[in-house]
C-alpha cells in the first residue's frame, strides 16, 4: 500500500516542496487552528510517515478549498494528495468526524443502489414546466430535496434555488429535463476517499443523462458541477455535454440580450464557492449577472474572488470549533460590507453559513443569505 501512496506523493509533486510555508499562511483552517498545517502534513507524506497521518484527526480537516495549491510555487496539488490519503485509510483507522451522525453520508451511499424508486421530484408543482425524459437542456437539481427535509431547523430552503432556476428557464422558453432518479453527484464521497461508491454514483447519473439526449447540463450546485467537470473526467468517465453553472448560463443570456433584468435593488455581496471559483476558475459570471443593468449595488468582501474564504465545511466532515471561527470570520466580512444580501451559488455555502448565523443568536448582525437564482428571478419583470 505504501508504494501506491508514495506514487501519489510523486504524482502530486509533493517531493518538490520547498517548505516555504505559503500554503499554511493562506490556509483558512491553519488561520484558526494552531494544530493544523498543510506544510507539516506534506512533510510527513514526503517522509512517508503515513501511519501518523492516518491517525490524525486533521487529515479530514482540509476543506479542499484549493487556496494552498493556488499559491504554491512548486505547483503541488495538496488537495489531491489529501484525497489519496483518505482513499487509502481502511475502515479500522481513524475516520473523519461525520456531522449530523452521518445522515448525509449514509444517504449518499444508499443512492448507489441501482433499482432505487426515489420520490425526489415531489416538490415540482404544476407551475413549473419540465420534462422527465428528453430535451436539449438538463437541469441537475442536486440533493436539495434531501437537504430541505433534513435541515428543518434552518431558516432556508435550498429547493428555492431549483424552483427559481426552472422558472427563469421557463421564462426563457426552455423546458428543462429533470432526472426523476437523479443521484448524488458523488462529490463528497470522492473527497472523503470513498472511490467505489463515488464511481457507482457517477455511472448511474451518466447513464440516465445519456438517455435524455440533452446537449447542456445546468447546475445550481457548484460542487455537482465540479464533480462532473473535473472529477468524472479525471476518473475516466466520458462527459460529452456542455456543463454550465446557472450563473454562467444566465450571464450568456444577459450578454446576448435574451434575458433582461432589473437592477439589484439592495446592496449585495457575493460568496465565491471554492468549487466554482478556484476549482472551475469562474469568478466573473455570477458578478456579471449581479451587476447587469446598473451594478452599483455589488459590494465585495475583504477576501473575494481568487482569495475568497470558503464556507468552512467540506463533505460534512470535521465541522468543529475551527470551522465556526472560519465561518464567523466570513460572516463578519459580509457584515462589514454593509450589504443586505449575501448571494450564494452553492447550497452547501448556503446551509453552513446560515447554520452559523442562526446559532449566533438573535442579537448579532444579520445578513440575508440567498441563492443567486432566487435573486435573479425577482429581477425579471
Amino acid at each position: 500500500m505504501h508504494e501506491e501512496l508514495y506514487a501519489a506523493v510523486q504524482q502530486t509533486n509533493a517531493l518538490a516542496c520547498l517548505e516555504c510555508g505559503k500554503c499554511t499562511s493562506v490556509c483558512p483552517v491553519s488561520r484558526f487552528s494552531q494544530e493544523y498545517s498543510p506544510r507539516l502534513m506534506l512533510n510527513q507524506a514526503v517522509k512517508q510517515d503515513f501511519d501518523t497521518l492516518f491517525a490524525d484527526y486533521d487529515l479530514w480537516s482540509c476543506l479542499t478549498c484549493q487556496r494552498c495549491d493556488q499559491v504554491c510555487p512548486s505547483a503541488i496539488s495538496y488537495i489531491e494528495l489529501t484525497q489519496t490519503l483518505r482513499n487509502n485509510t481502511d475502515s479500522s483507522r481513524f475516520k473523519g468526524q461525520c456531522s449530523h451522525s452521518g445522515v448525509l453520508e449514509t444517504l449518499q451511499k444508499m443512492m448507489t443502489t441501482r433499482d432505487l424508486r426515489q420520490n425526489r421530484l415531489d416538490w415540482v408543482g404544476n407551475e413549473l414546466d419540465i420534462s422527465t425524459d428528453t430535451g436539449e437542456i438538463l437541469y441537475f437539481v442536486g440533493c436539495a430535496p434531501y437537504f430541505d427535509s433534513f435541515f428543518t431547523n434552518l431558516e432556508l430552503s435550498t429547493l428555492d434555488a431549483a424552483i427559481s432556476s426552472i422558472k427563469i428557464l421557463n421564462h426563457l422558453g426552455i423546458k428543462p429535463v429533470l432526472l426523476p432518479q437523479e443521484r448524488c453527484c458523488g462529490h463528497d464521497l470522492y473527497w472523503n476517499g470513498d472511490m467505489d461508491n463515488f464511481k457507482m454514483l457517477a455511472e448511474h447519473n451518466l447513464e440516465m443523462i445519456a438517455k435524455t439526449g440533452c446537449k447542456t447540463i445546468l447546475f445550481s450546485c457548484a460542487e455537482c458541477q465540479s464533480a462532473f467537470q473535473n472529477l468524472y473526467v479525471e476518473n475516466g468517465f466520458k462527459v460529452p455535454w456542455k456543463l454550465q453553472h446557472l450563473s454562467q448560463f444566465l450571464a450568456e443570456q444577459v450578454e446576448s440580450g435574451k434575458l433582461e433584468l432589473a437592477p439589484v435593488a439592495k446592496p449585495v455581496t457575493f460568496q465565491d464557492p471554492c468549487r466554482l471559483g478556484r476549482h472551475l476558475s469562474e469568478y466573473d459570471a455570477p458578478r456579471q449577472v449581479l451587476k447587469s443593468n446598473g451594478g452599483d449595488n455589488l459590494v465585495e468582501m475583504k477576501q473575494h474572488g481568487k482569495g475568497a474564504l470558503c464556507c468552512g465545511v467540506s463533505a460534512w466532515m470535521n465541522c468543529d470549533g475551527t470551522t465556526r471561527k472560519i465561518q464567523n470570520e466570513r460572516l463578519d466580512q459580509a457584515y462589514a460590507t454593509g450589504a443586505e444580501t449575501m448571494a450564494v451559488a452553492c447550497p452547501k455555502c448556503h446551509i453552513h453559513l446560515q447554520c452559523t448565523q442562526q446559532h449566533a443568536g438573535d442579537d448579532g448582525p444579520k445578513i440575508e443569505i440567498r441563492d443567486i437564482a432566487t435573486i435573479t428571478l425577482e429581477r425579471i419583470g
Binding site: Q97, S149, F150, G321, H359
Partner: protein, 774 residues
Amino acid sequence: MPEPTPHTFDIFREEGQLSFPGKKEEYRFGPVEPSPCTNACPAGVNVKAYVSLMAAGKFGAALDVIRERNPLPGICGRVCTHPCEAACNRNVVDQPVAVRWLKRFAADYELAHPGEPPAKIETTRQEKVAVIGAGPSGLTAANDLVRRGFDVTVFEALPEAGGMLIAGIPAYRLPRKILSAEIDYLTNLGIKIETGTKIEGEKAIDELFKQGFEAIYLAIGAHKGKKLNIKGEGRYRGILDAVAFLNQVNFSASEKPGDKVIVIGGGNSAVDSARTALRLGSSEVHIVYRRTRQEMPADEEEIDEAEKEGVKIHYLAAPVEIVGKKGRVTGMTCQKMELGEPDESGRRRPVPIPDSEYLVEADCIIPAISQEPEIEFGLSDVKLSRWNTLVADEDTMATDRPGVFAGGDAVTGPSTVIDAIAHGHRAADSILHYLTGQPLENPVPPQMLPEAEIKIDLDQRSQIARAGMPAMEVQQRLGNFDEVEFGFDEATAIAEAQRCLRCGPCAECEECVSLCDKQPAMLTVDGHTGEYLCRVPDNLRSLVNSESSLTANLKIGKKKIDVILQSLQPRVAANICRGCGECVSVCDYGALELIASSGDLQISQLDPEKCRACGICVSACPNGAMLPGFIDDAWLNSKLDRMATGATNLVVFSCRWNGSSLHSDELAQIRTDKVNLNLIQTICGGRIEPGFVLKALAAGASGVLLTACDDESCHYGVGARRVRESFDEIRSLVHILGTDPQRIGFAAIPDGDSVKFIQTIADFAQSLNNNGGK
C-alpha cells in the same frame, strides 16, 4: 452475579471493595444503610419510599412499592404489628409516623379508584411448585414464584383462602371484602388456589412429587390450640380453644359462647376472642394474663379498644383450676402474680404470690395461650422441633428433605403476618435457586443489616402530632362485625406521610430517578457478555466519571470478579465543539452551559454532578462533539454490524426502561418466526439520532422500530419527544429515497409495560412480513 437485568442498580448495595490495578488504595462501599423503618420491616418493604410517595400524593406508585415486597397491602395496612413504627425516628421527636395506616390508605385508595385489574402473568417455566396453605406465607411464596414464571398451585384445607387472616382475625378488624379483593388480585395474576383441599395421608408429600410438583412449600400455620395443663381442664363442657372458637365464628353462623366468658392469654388471639364474644352478646368478658400490660404481646391499640368496649383484663393473674358443676364450667380460680427475674426471653418471669387465689365466675373458658401446627400428613424426612413445629433453615427455609421448604407459623409457632410474609419471600428465593440448580444461599435478609446510622439532627425537628384514626363509637360496635376503624381521608394521609423525617439516604423509590443523584455507569464483567447498569456509590462517582473506562477488581463477600466500569456521562470534545448550544437547549437537567473558549468561540461544558447520562445531548450535537461514555457510536455501529442476511431483519431501538422487565423467552419467540431481531437499548431513546436509523436500513434492516416511553413515563424529560421527532425526520427522508415508510415504526410505550413492548415488536415484525420484508 445477579442476572443481567437492566436494573442492576444494586451491585454496590452490599458491602464490598473495589481495587484498581496500579492503585494502592481500595475503595470500600456499602452497605447502603436503609432508614430504620425499612430496616425493621421483616418483609423488606421499602417503607420510606412509599411514605415519601404518599407525601407527594402518588398513591398508586406507593402501592407499587409496597407490592414489590408485600402482596397483602390492605391486610397488613390493618393488622400488621408494624415493627417499622417501633423503629421510627419520630418516636424520639414525638410519635411514630402512622406507617401502617398509610399503607391501608394506599390500598383502600386503589379499591375506591379501581383501574385495570393486573394482567395475568404468563407461565414461562416448566417447573410446577406446590404450596400447602393459603395463609400469608403461602400466598407470598406463590406470588413471588408466579412472577418469576413458575406454575404454582396452592392447596388449602379450608373452604376459603387466607389462613389465619380469615380463620382467626375477626371481620371488625379485617373486613372480608378487603381480604377477598387482595386474594382476587393474586389469583388474577395467575396463582391457582385449590380451596377445600387438605393435603393428608402418610405418603402425601411423595404423592405431590409424583404428580409432577418439583418443589413444595409447607406453610400450614399453627392452628392446634395448646393445653393449659391445669386442674379441671377436659372435665367440663364450656371450654373452647380460641382458634377453634374464632374459626367457628368466621365460617358458620354463631351464637355467644357463653354469658360470662374468661379468655386466658395475652396475645392477639386472646383479645380478638374477648372482643368477638362481646359482639356476640356475652354480658361479661374477662382476660386473664400472667404479666403486666407492658408485656402483653397483643397490639397496644387492640388492648385499648378491648378495654373501651368493656373487657375486664386481669393483669398478673394465672389460671389455677377450672371449676364446674354437673359437667359444665362455672368459673376459674386464679392466682395473683408478681414479676421476678427476667426469663430467657428477657421478659420478667411472673411468680405466684402465696395465698392470693380468687375465683372468677364464668360459663365459658377460652384458652388462647398458644398454638402448634396441625400436621395431617406423613412428615417423610421433615423434622419436628420439641415445640412440635417444623424444622427449617432460618435463612433458606429448607427442610431436611430436598425440595421441601417450610415457613410461617408452622416453623415459628404463632407469630405475625409480616413474619410469615418474610418467610414466604425466602422460601420463594430458595425454590428458585433449587429449581435452577444454584446453591441455596440467600442474600442477607434486609433486617439483618447493621442498625442504620442516622445522620439527621433529631433535636431540630419540630413536633407534629400523629394523625388519629377515626373509629366507630363504642356503643355502636356491639352486636355487629362492622369494621371499627374508618381509615384516613386523603388530606390526612398526605399530611401524615409528610411527617416522615426521610431518614437515611435517598428514598430509593426509583420514582426520583429522574431527579435525584443516581448516576448510572456501565459495568461489564470479564468473561460475561452481559452489560450491567449499576448505580455508582457516592465515593466512587467522581473517579468513575473522570475516566472513560476503569478496570477494577470487585469483591463482594467471598465473590471476586474483574470488571470494567465505564461512565455513561458524555464528555465534551473541546477541539470539536463549535458552541452552537444545541446540547444546552436539550439538556433537561441544566448540566450543560456554554463557556468562553479561544477567540470568539464558546464551547459547552458539562457539570458531572447534574448530568444523568441520558445521552440526549449526544444526539442533539450536530458535530459529534459530545462523546458519550459506553454507548458511543462505535458501540452502536457494532450492534448494527450484527445484521444477519436472509431473514426479516428487525432493528429495534429502545431505551433501557422500555420493556425493562423483559423475558428473554418472549423475545426469543419473536426471534424465531422468520424474524431476526436486533434489539439495541440505550439509556434513553433520545440518544438515537436519525443517522442510526438510516445506517440500520443501509446495513440491511428490513425494518426499524423506534420505541420510547410515553411522555408521562419518560425518565428523561424530553427523551420521548426527541424520539418522535427523529422518527418524523427520518420518515420524510426515507420517503424521498423511495423506501417504504412503513419500514420505520414508532411506538410510545409506558415505562415497564413489557407486555405491550413485546406485542408492539411482534406486530411490527408481522407487518414487515406482510409487506414482504426481505
